[in-house]
């Protein structure tokens, strides 16, 4: 940890040294960094856009358009992460014909950094998911599915730490309880672990051990369950835990016009976001960092 700081500082120092006197003078000025998080959820095999005849989503969506949009945003800010909150599979003949191959290949071409696993990603069984893994050049993050007795064992990670311009971003994944939702023949011996307990472990690891500057939860738990408020959801998880900066949700196909600000267990504001389904929207959350201590004393302003 300390060594990594040293290396980063050394690199910055070298760059400044080449600038000569200017570098040292400008040193005292406020320095800024911006991290952009882009996200999708419940794309459900929607590869091509909805046709002009579609009742609800006419001319919306489409992977090739999403790719162009992401390119533009990345050009503006290379310090971006692209994440998906699950239910990549099922919904169009692309899945029925190719079993998810095209979905994973396209997400790899779009340079997704990570995804979590949704209940529909088991629709061809856990073996069906496993079979498509060679097409995915991104990580599957799942902290509360214990796959140790299944073919998926060692093919997922509970979390991953990304470093963008020295900012450490810890991302962990959470899945929904499969019992009652997915046929046991499909998920086999996948064990579901309590999301809140797991989150407490994850945030401790990411905050204390990994010293992350940002903690993001990729969740397929669902936004909120009005009729069964005891069922764990993104909103209840947010309120029951600490240190998460952003929950990117899925499952409930909730079209949030803007991210929801939630007070966590410690009374700090954090964000929960979800962008509906079918690749109709791309979510974008920008985190601005700077070295101005006075400003940070006033807390973080959230503009949604």
């Amino acid at each position: 940890m300390k060594r990594r700081d040293f290396i980063q500082q050394a690199t910055a120092g070298a760059a400044l040294a080449t600038l000569g006197g200017y570098g040292l003078q400008s040193f005292s000025a406020v320095r800024k960094k911006k991290i952009t998080i882009l996200h999708t959820n419940d794309v459900h095999s929607h590869i091509t856009p909805f046709g002009p005849e579609d009742g609800r989503n006419a001319n919306k969506g489409g992977v090739a358009r999403r790719a162009a949009l992401i390119d533009t945003i990345r050009k503006e800010n290379p310090n971006s992460l692209l994440l998906d909150a699950g239910d990549i599979f099922q919904g169009t003949p692309y899945f029925n014909y190719y079993g998810g191959e095209l979905e994973f290949k396209l997400m790899s071409k779009l340079k997704y950094d990570a995804a979590t696993i949704g209940n529909h990603d088991f629709d061809n069984g856990i073996n069906g998911l496993f079979t498509q893994l060679p097409h995915a050049e991104f990580d599957f993050l799942s902290a509360n599915y214990d796959f140790s007795n299944t073919v998926m064992d060692t093919h997922t990670k509970p979390y991953k730490v990304f470093i963008k311009e020295g900012i450490k971003i810890g991302v962990f994944g959470l899945g929904i309880e499969l019992k009652g939702l997915v046929d046991p023949m499909m998920f086999k011996e996948t064990k579901y672990l309590d999301p809140i307990e797991i989150t407490q472990d994850m945030t401790r690891i990411l905050k204390t051990e990994e010293q992350c500057d940002l903690i993001i939860c990729l969740s397929h738990l669902g936004y909120h369950y009005k009729n069964t408020p005891d069922k764990v959801s993104d909103l209840s998880l947010a309120a029951a835990t600490s240190d998460i900066d952003l929950i990117i949700g899925g499952h409930t196909h909730t079209f949030l016009p803007k991210p929801t600000i939630v007070k966590n267990k410690d009374g700090h504001n954090m964000l929960v976001n979800q962008v509906g389904c079918y690749g109709i929207y791309l979510g974008q959350i920008d985190f601005y960092f700077d070295t101005n201590n006075n400003k940070s004393a006033n807390g973080t302003s959230i503009i949604v």
Partner: protein
């Protein structure tokens, strides 16, 4: 060598002076961006998708059977040709699978009227038509139900007054929609007998408020999608000519 030393010295000084200047999160901005036709697609992605798309389109357009007429779910009062077609196909395709696994025959099939999502148009039938007729991924399950539960099912069907499609069950209602007679495979229903009812996993899970599937003696998941059963059947036959019959009728006098 001396230059490297200089850099190292500079770095060293900076580390000392920078130590108290960590980056703090000061501002968060969030929004969503609609993906619509104002964004021109990335060409290489589109090119990559094209062969997959073409293959699917070609396959969806492949002709697998011929329909003698146009069949719709609104044509018929308590039973429709299109609904009868779907449940009779489920019986024909699922029964051999169930028989080979459980050593028993399916007694009847029940689907729901709302599950008929499109028409069957007269003429060539393509795989695309089947995807439109059955866009969902529902699978066929066989539920072992006691005769008493079949009574609840009959009450449900009588009260619903809808052409919920079923096969092998025969149900006649009077002018007040009260059941006059009911039989399965030509025999009156025995309250103590166990009946093997094929349906979809959706309906089994209380879809369309069909609560009579629980409690039950056992559940068999055939792991066979309704859509695949329809496609397999249509590939097997040349033409289809389903009819409205007397399986579910009302005596209005």
């Amino acid at each position: 060598m001396r230059f490297t030393h200089l850099i190292f010295l500079l770095n060293f000084l900076m580390i000392i002076s920078c130590k108290e200047e960590p980056y703090n999160l000061t501002r968060i901005e969030g929004k969503r961006i609609e993906i619509n036709d104002s964004i021109s697609p990335k060409q290489d992605i589109e090119t990559f998708i094209e062969p997959y798309k073409n293959h699917i389109e070609k396959d969806l357009d492949s002709v697998i059977a011929y329909a003698m007429d146009t069949y719709t779910k609104s044509n018929g009062e308590l039973n429709t040709a299109i609904g009868n077609f779907m449940v009779d196909v489920v019986y024909e395709q699922a029964n051999p699978i169930f028989n080979s696994r459980a050593g028993k025959d399916i007694d009847m099939v029940l689907l729901n009227h709302g599950g008929i999502r499109s028409i069957i148009p007269k003429g060539n039938l393509r795989i695309r038509n089947v995807f439109e007729l059955m866009p969902f991924e529902n699978k066929i399950v066989v539920v072992a139900l006691k005769g008493k539960q079949i009574d609840s099912m009959i009450t449900y069907l009588s009260k619903a007054k809808r052409a919920h499609p079923f096969s092998k069950l025969k149900l006649t209602l009077d002018k007040n929609f009260e059941p006059i007679s009911a039989s399965i495979k030509g025999k009156t229903i025995d309250v103590n007998k166990t009946y093997y009812v094929a349906t979809s996993d959706y309906l089994y899970n209380n879809g369309d408020n069909m609560r009579f599937f629980r409690p039950n003696d056992s559940l068999y998941d055939l792991n066979y999608k309704i859509r695949n059963a329809l496609i397999d059947y249509l590939k097997k036959v040349d033409t289809i000519n389903p009819v409205i019959d007397d399986r579910f009728i009302q005596i209005k006098k």
